[in-house]
């Protein structure tokens, strides 16, 4: 293999790997957003801020609660991310009870626009409140949950008998495995448990679910809490390899929207694959596009997807005339 070809192969494999591992974490964030959307039919603008809160919560647990000292630099960040998720679960419940409860559910079904204007406005306001509140509380300096894993890589290679070597960043690789496990756990929870069935019933037809004795408000609260927590866990994982500040939500919220739309809005497992695809698109685009256009590539891919395949992603039947 000539050196020029070897470099191309190496770069491609490296991007593919990075796309896959980042994609798994993106997939997990998307699962959180998709869970909220599929059950409540609310586009949560503040989902990026839940991600941000997850990062700070994980950092807090890791450094302030002594998880770092107790569990060390390898297991510690993972546990911190999950515990951070638990904290944000509480935040999600409070947000639902205090705010969203009043403008979602059966009371808005059948009103103009199905109550979407107030929902969008409210979550937009929440997003502003949380990101700027974060600035006040946490300050604007970038933080990281630095561990030895962040800067170390496993070397894979030389491959193909030539000098192709892949560097697998430890923090990202571990994060992707954890993300896969958490996403699988969420999928199992929804598919197998009694509470999961309640969520699905409330998502399918809130009115009918009410007649079947399901407390739809409780289902919404649970979905919102879990959705926030799942995205927050993804945030905690990102924090192990990426510096963050209170405004970071907007960077990822588009990734989440793109992934959720790609996966077919309302499909929780689809959202994971959607997020994974976005990760791949983002990383593979760096092979042909300048680095600065990485995110533009996501938007273009996102637009192409919604414009070219809306029916395939819609999944809603024709309105009865």
């Amino acid at each position: 293999m000539s050196p020029a070809v070897a470099i191309i192969v190496e770069n491609t494999l490296q991007s593919l790997y990075t796309g896959l591992v980042l994609g798994c974490v993106y997939g997990l964030m998307c699962v959180g957003l998709a869970l909220i959307f599929s059950v409540m039919r609310v586009i949560n603008f503040a989902q990026g801020e839940f991600l941000m809160l997850g990062m700070y919560a994980a950092l807090f647990v890791f450094t302030q609660l002594g998880i770092s000292a107790l569990l060390g630099p390898y297991v510690g960040p993972i546990v911190a991310a999950v515990l951070g998720g638990a904290i944000v679960f509480g935040v999600g419940i409070v947000v639902y009870e205090g705010l969203l409860r009043w403008i979602t559910g059966l009371q808005v079904a059948g009103t103009e626009g199905e109550g979407h204007y107030p929902q969008l406005t409210l979550t937009l306001g929440l997003s502003l409140l949380l990101s700027n509140g974060g600035l006040i509380v946490f300050g604007s300096n970038p933080e990281t949950m630095r561990t030895p894993m962040s800067s170390n890589a496993w070397e894979l290679g030389p491959l193909f008998g030539s000098d192709i070597t892949l560097f697998l960043n430890q923090a990202r690789s571990v994060a992707s495995v954890v993300a896969l496990v958490v996403a699988a756990a969420v999928a199992l929870f929804i598919a197998r448990t009694r509470l999961g069935k309640m969520l699905r019933a409330a998502a399918d037809n809130p009115e009918a679910a009410t007649y079947m004795g399901i407390h739809v408000g409780r289902a919404y609260r649970l979905a919102f809490g879990i959705g926030a927590a799942v995205t927050a866990i993804a945030g905690g994982l990102v924090a192990t390899y990426y510096p963050f500040q209170p405004y970071i939500g907007i960077e990822f919220v588009i990734v989440m929207y793109a992934g959720v739309v790609l996966g077919g809005m309302g499909s929780v497992s689809g959202a994971f694959w959607g997020g994974l695809t976005i990760g791949l698109i983002q990383q593979l685009s760096t092979l042909v596009l300048p680095n600065q256009l990485q995110n533009a590539a996501i938007f273009v891919a996102f637009l192409l997807i919604v414009l070219l395949r809306p029916q395939g992603l819609f999944g809603r039947s024709v309105e009865r005339v």
Binding site: H116, G125, I136, I254, Y257, L293, N295, V306
Partner: protein, 584 residues
């Protein structure tokens, strides 16, 4: 000058008067930003407020306007006086380019897709090397380059722009433009059925809205003298347009202005007073203010105040529709002879939903001037047949010819204009429009001027016996009034053929009599009627001929007496036992 315009001009004069006494440059800037953001809000409202399509992406137009002005000045030395005009055209073009593909999407999908445009542009402009474009000062002829040492002139410019935007908004709200958009927003299918081409109006709206937004963006660039991608393409720019509008009141003319008057100074003052000590306080207060408004007054401040005032005044005594209960007399001789020319020819129409054959080989003819009744059990395909006739569904195979013109494949609004009007089984009213506005939507497709359309709408309302109720909101009408309103809306488009879908369902005896008389009168005036109905006894009295549909096939056609004694029909309706008894 209309009252609305007088208020706008008076408000603008007041605002400018207040500006006169402001000496502090910082506050002068704030006085400039209020009308600029109010303009963006008004522009956003013209599109999203009236069409109901939430645009999260107006920053795309704002940024395009700002960069058009800045780059034309920096690269070509072109004065912003011209640059702003070009920015308006650039914005309109961007609106059409973005709108054309994106209008395929609905609801959440549309909103999210719009979000992607400005953010993609943001990265593209950074990549192009326009991270920070400063507008150069022109020392020789500053005024020719829109540069003034007295900042109050910028306030004047911004206020003039806002007044223009508001005047456009007022004109839009009162015209077929705004009403067509509201009709689309409230019920796109009904709007199409009433002859409105949704895509055309949406494109017009987004082009207009984008042009105004881009001009505001251009002025913003001139005022701030520096343009950066995050400032003009960023999420906050899009959010600001939505926030001032949703805060003040969506789909109201004054809403965005009220929102901007309260929120922009609030945010700027907080930023100036506390920003150094508590960074982000502006966003926190903004966010909290929005959430409080949403929870307390979900429609925005202005509608909330209006609702409170209306409640205090007490609801006006509602006029009840006095239905003429005189017995229905079938007008003898009104029925056309069988030699009347054929108006509608339906030939082997088939419709399939997945595995379900909803219509199979349906062929029949409708003669000019007759009333054809379509009956059949539930699920026989009656409404599907109507949907195939007016273009909501494209049959395959099948042919539907009106006066020899093939209609299959034409969109619903074109079929409406060709002369087929319809009503819906479930009444599709535009709930928040008045009776007159509901009906005039149908008249727009038949008349070119708004005045003629309103005259036609009033006449249609009188023809169905609802005169006097024109200003009532559709949401306050009774069932029979709504059904008559739908008939009036269909009539207003001047149809030759009227399709009535279960117009009598759920009506009481006297109400039924009234509607029957209206239908009979409509036929006497030369409109051919096809009516779907469940109740046989009304149909037997009304229809000249009956067509029985069963399991998607034509089971019998003929005069009422013959059809109702047809054993196959009795079986379809009542079962085998009854068929046997009738035969005995």
């Amino acid at each position: 000058m209309s009252r609305a315009l007088a208020i706008i001009v008076a408000g603008a004069a007041l605002f400018l008067g207040a500006t006169w006494f402001v000496q502090d440059r910082y506050y002068q800037l704030m006085f400039t930003l209020v009308p600029i953001w109010a303009t963006v809000g008004v522009a956003w409202n013209i599109f999203s407020g009236y069409s109901g399509l939430m645009s999260f992406g107006h920053a795309a137009f704002f940024g395009i306007g700002a960069y058009t002005v800045a780059l034309l000045l920096v690269k070509l030395g072109l004065s912003p006086w011209f640059g702003i005009v070009i920015a308006g055209f650039a914005g309109a073009l961007a609106g059409v380019v973005i709108g054309f593909p994106t209008f395929k999407l609905r609801g959440h999908y549309f909103a999210l897709a719009m979000l992607a445009y400005p953010l993609a542009l943001l990265y593209v402009f950074e990549w192009l090397g326009f991270q920070e474009v400063a507008l150069p000062m022109n020392r020789e002829t500053p005024a020719a380059f829109m540069q003034f040492s007295d900042q109050r002139i910028y306030v004047l410019l911004a206020v003039v722009l806002l007044v223009v935007a508001l005047a456009i908004n007022v004109a839009v709200a009162r015209s077929r433009f705004g009403l067509s958009l509201l009709a689309i927003k409230q019920n796109e299918l009904a709007a199409m059925g009433a002859g409105i081409n949704p895509r055309r109006w949406k494109l017009k709206a987004i082009a207009l809205s984008a042009a105004l937004t881009a001009i505001a963006g251009g002025l913003y660039a001139v005022v701030l003298l520096i343009v950066t991608p995050p400032a003009v393409f960023g999420m906050l720019a899009s959010a600001q347009a939505m926030i001032v509008t949703l805060f003040g009141g969506i789909a109201t003319v004054a809403g965005p202005v009220i929102g901007a008057l309260i929120l922009v100074p609030l945010g700027e003052t907080l930023h100036a007073e506390l920003g150094s000590r508590i960074p982000g306080i502006q966003g926190v207060v903004f966010g909290a203010a929005i959430m409080i408004v949403v929870l307390l007054a979900p429609e925005g401040i202005l509608p909330w105040i209006q609702a409170r005032r209306a409640r205090r005044r007490g609801a006006d005594a509602e006029e009840a529709l006095a239905l003429d209960a005189a017995t229905f007399v079938r007008a003898s001789g009104a029925a056309p002879d069988s030699g009347a020319p054929i108006l509608l020819a339906v030939n082997s129409v088939a419709v399939r939903f997945g595995g379900l054959q909803a219509l199979h080989n349906v062929s029949f003819e409708v003669r000019k001037g007759e009333i054809l009744g379509i009956i059949g059990p539930n699920g026989a395909g009656k409404t599907t047949l109507f949907n195939a006739l007016n273009g909501f569904i494209v049959p395959s195979p099948g042919s539907v010819k009106l006066d020899g013109r093939e209609l299959v494949g034409e969109p619903p609004f074109a079929i409406c204009r060709a002369g087929i009007g319809r009503t819906f089984q479930v009444v599709r009213a535009f709930a928040r429009l008045s009776l007159l506005d509901n009906v005039v939507v149908g008249a727009f497709s038949a008349e070119h001027t708004d005045g003629a359309a309103y005259a036609r709408a009033r006449e249609a309302i009188a023809r169905v016996g609802l005169a006097g109720l024109e200003s009532q909101l559709a949401s306050s009408l009774t069932t029979v009034e709504l059904r008559l309103m739908e008939i009036a809306r269909a009539l207003a488009a001047g149809p030759r053929l009227l399709l009535l879908d279960e117009t009598l369902a759920g009506l009481g005896a006297s109400e039924t009599e009234h509607v029957l008389k209206v239908v009979e009168a409509i036929r006497r005036e030369g409109v051919t009627v096809v009516i779907i109905e469940h109740t046989m006894h009304a149909m037997v009295r009304l229809a000249d001929r009956l067509l029985v549909l069963d399991h998607g096939e034509v089971c019998a056609v003929g005069d009422p007496a013959t059809v109702t004694s047809n054993p196959a029909v009795i079986e379809a309706y009542l079962g085998k036992k009854w068929a046997a008894r009738a035969a005995a």
